[in-house]
Symmetry: D2
Subunit: 345 residues, 4 copies
């Protein structure tokens, strides 16, 4: 059994990790780290865990964490700075859900996050935890930068088109819609039920940090610098991200041809489901699962592809993907504990 610490266990990504791991056949939850709920049973903080998981939250104690094999760090921005290097030093594998270890180029991080990076050497060593692109590196890593939710959804949707050279790197638009769990459990007027229900809005237009993460990966796909318009929106549902991606085509193609291209690109991927032409994904199809569903439309009037990509933002976009990475790190079947169909209802 893999001995596990979840640091930041009571945020939304953290508790989804706990939920998945509490039913994972190879996982042994040892530590539920939480500053705010130190000493409280997890089943009081999240009452759905009564009778299921009998553990108390605890504040950070590095010696105790050091007894684990792996730590998931789902800490508030900045809080993981000191923790992660210590954990690595003590020989743990670390899967970090913050933005700190997702970048190839430290300058990109520092520009978009507006601060110096505290562990440049670890950043250089860390592996971007998108298994569909970096599976082999992930298997050998000590430190994984688990991708952001918007980015997972958008990169998976656009990558094959740019990689093939058929999609033009210019004029790419990613218009993304996210459920409210993406904002976390912190209070804010904008997340009050009465303000949020029956409401759709955009936020951080052209300035959201995930822009840089998407651009990093699509640039590698395209083999040249890609800059995109990325617009996040908040929609009145809990789970789900839906990215609508517009890519001009360098040559005439049909939806059938592009669908075939995507099927080939993702042919060994259990968690990627390419819709047949004419069918489109919906967030409901992926909610509560680790799947990414991708549909492809070609606007032949404009020689432009419209790629529809959807994931569950706290599952494939956070906790589920983190477990997928853990499975790879420890030599398990990648699907262990996360292979199921979503809720639908």
């Amino acid at each position: 059994m893999i001995k596990i610490a979840v640091l930041g266990a009571t945020g939304y990504a953290g508790i989804e990790l706990v939920r998945i791991l509490s039913a994972h056949p190879e996982a042994e939850l040892k530590i539920l780290g939480s500053q705010s709920f130190d000493g409280q049973p997890i089943s009081e903080v999240y009452q759905n865990f009564a009778h299921v998981l009998d553990m108390n939250c605890e504040k950070l104690d590095l010696e105790r964490v050091a007894e684990c094999d792996v730590a998931f760090t789902a800490l508030p921005h900045g809080a993981s700075k000191d923790v992660i290097p210590s954990l690595i030093e003590k020989g743990l594998k670390v899967i970090d859900l913050s933005g700190d270890f997702r970048y190839d180029d430290i300058k990109v991080y520092e520009k978009w996050y507006g601060q110096e990076h505290s562990s440049p050497e670890l950043l250089a060593e860390s592996v971007y935890g998108l298994p569909e692109l970096y599976r082999d590196k992930i298997k050998k890593a000590r430190l994984i930068g688990n991708p952001g939710c918007y980015t997972t959804c958008s990169i998976l949707g656009a990558y094959p088109l740019l990689d093939s050279g058929i999609g033009s790197p210019d004029n790419i638009i990613v218009d993304a819609k996210s459920g409210v769990t993406g904002a976390g459990r912190g209070l804010g007027l904008g997340y009050h039920f009465c303000e949020c229900t029956e409401n759709t809005k955009a936020y951080k237009v052209a300035t959201h940090r995930h822009t840089s993460e998407i651009e990093q990966e699509l640039s590698k796909a395209a083999g040249c610098e890609v800059m995109i318009s990325f617009t996040p929106h908040l929609i009145p549902q809990k789970r789900g991200i839906f990215s609508t991606i517009y890519v001009n085509l360098n040559k005439k193609c049909t939806a059938e041809e592009l669908t075939e291209l995507y099927r080939e690109f993702y042919k060994d991927e259990y968690f990627i489901r390419i819709k047949e032409p004419g069918k489109l994904p919906e967030t409901k199809h992926v909610a509560g699962s680790n799947f990414a569903d991708i549909g492809i439309v070609v606007d032949e009037r404009l020689d432009r592809a419209v790629i529809l990509s959807t994931i569950d933002n706290i599952y494939k976009g956070a906790a589920g993907q983190a477990v997928q990475n853990m499975n790879l790190l420890f030599g398990l079947d990648e699907k262990t504990g996360i292979s199921g169909a979503g809720f639908y209802l």
Copy 2:
């Protein structure tokens, strides 16, 4: 592995069964019965099953079903009439999700359903599938009448109080609120999103069939005929039933005393969680799980208990409880495949 037929697999209760069973370690889904979608892959009807379950729906073929060990019948009212006797005859265990096999007294059935019963002998033999009350009988049954959603929630909430003699059988009120999945997948203006969201209403006040099922069980608990007011309401959420149960007390007691009574009554029950005094259940705590959460308030001004009971209507109120019954029928640990914490998010 238990070979399984789900008849009526594409309704909401049916597909929740399929979802649970597709991840159940001892279950082998053999037949997904559906008249409407005969020949179609289940992953087209419910696209969340793509890559998870590669089976086609099929219309009823008794010979094929006869190769299974157990059939779940989640058929439209009336449709199971002929099917179930044939299946029993062929040696299958049957777990029926309709109202047809839930009654001790055929007259009660005929009064509330307004029709003759087609299989009086099977009705007499059938066992009411509420494991917390009838576990031993269930283990030996051939035919289980799986309880209704409102009834599971309400009976579990009121039973200990009446069984103990502390609750008065007179003036019991059950005010119940249900999510919309309870109405099934059939179309109707009342279930149109725009009519249903931001709306609460009562329906079938004083005439809902589940009244008779609740009365049957509470009468057994009380040892005398119990008649209740039962009011179902439709609330704008998918999953969840919340029953608020008012019972006059035959003697002064405190919430602490009643809580202790309930804890004792359900002391071996994994799926029943009694809240400590001062804590109350919420549908969110049980959604996506087989748990029933029960909270107890005593209004000492009035010598009246207010019992708050909640379940997930399509899980513990339908599919999950049906699997719990299957586990018992086949000698498995009752919790197999249904022990997890709910979604919360």
Copy 3:
């Protein structure tokens, strides 16, 4: 034109007052009182008012308020204590939306609110602002205690039955469900979208303050002391209260007879709509309006009436009823500015 101050204009009840009054043909909004948003345009705090209402919020200045004819006080509990006596002294009419001036008996107030009352004389003078019961007194009042949301809904539903002597004062149950606007705009984890959507729960069972207000009025109707079970629930919608009221009947009657009784009782009331037997109210029918819809079912098995009563909690349950009171105070047609059909959609 009536010169108006709304004190506490930026809470949910306050802003609904502003919305209604900004379209009222006889109203002139002079002061939008808000401590938190002093100096800010109301159209920045609630951006739906841009181009409609060009006024700034301001903190309390009694001299300025004194130039108005009427003040609506929608202040946080306790904050109105000093303000209201001053306003009355300066000759304004005051319509108070807090619980402070709703009681006949100061002892009841002090018991349920757990504090001494600061203005016993004003309490003695104040009139309970339920026009359907106290229209004549309201017309002559200086100070109106505007009823609570749950209480308006529940009293209107139960009053005729108790007043007629047909309803028994014993064993009355009021099971009420409220939308989330009832909790106001303050932040709290329980009102976070992700915690609130897809969730139903009860709260303050047997201890909610509105219990005492309902009991006060129903006792007057019955001519004897009435004590009720009152259970408030939070349901995942913005607007609407739905009260399900159980009253034992002193004699056999039909739904038709009781419907006739209610029609007669409310025969001159524009804002009360009695459903014909067999039809039931829904919160959607009253959302965004000043109407109260009431449906009546008789459970002839039990000689018990089930009264279904619904209002919009921040309209007829707060702001709309306050304007109805203002209309009466100033000799206007009671319906002025609040006569419209609700949104439905």
Copy 4:
């Protein structure tokens, strides 16, 4: 008073018209046309109208309609074909909410609607009912083609930028999100509450008819043929459209400059509210009102404007705009009866 027939009064656009007109000071509703509910009181079909509007629905009788001054036709596609010419002939003004009279070029209509147009002469005469662009023509028209919901939102958002020559006509993307009222009251599995809530999806990608309407108007603005990508999405709320519009800029500009451009363009428009730089619109700000809120972001990295435009789809996107057109047709102040702030809550 203007005598009015609403034909198709019981669809969602129709009933919103009835709601607005029933409170309009110059409107006299004479006929509520409905094939399905002929003879039924409108207050039974939409129970929010009890006590407010005492009229029966009636099936089409041209002689009776001929006594009116104006007819709003909100009929199912195709049904208005024969009716409208007759009404025009009898001297009524007609405001048609279908797509039939929105086109300058009959060929565009026939291409996108896949059928011949039945009244080419009337199409030639009809005026596109977007008052902010065609106010003078509307005043003198006999027949108004009331714009679609997506199109109103998108055209208002993009027009000034193309008209000014600063926006490039190439590579325009309109990514639009609509509430479910946009789909009307007809039943469909996709509009069942349980399928629709917690779900976001795209539909009719690159093929939706509103594409052609947007292109027609933007081509006039730009002075050249404009072709756009238009992607409609269904989001889990009742009211509201949010269009995110991407337009490349022909020269460097700031958000401040473009905001000033929009303010100047719409300087006399009550119903258009341009957000100051840094503020963004939300559907909640316009729900229940005739306003269009527009926010402007410039991505200076890409020389691309991102325009965020939002309206209430059944108000400014259908019924409210139709009343705005009626006001113009009859010489009233354009704002009469539709000037209020939206619900917010």
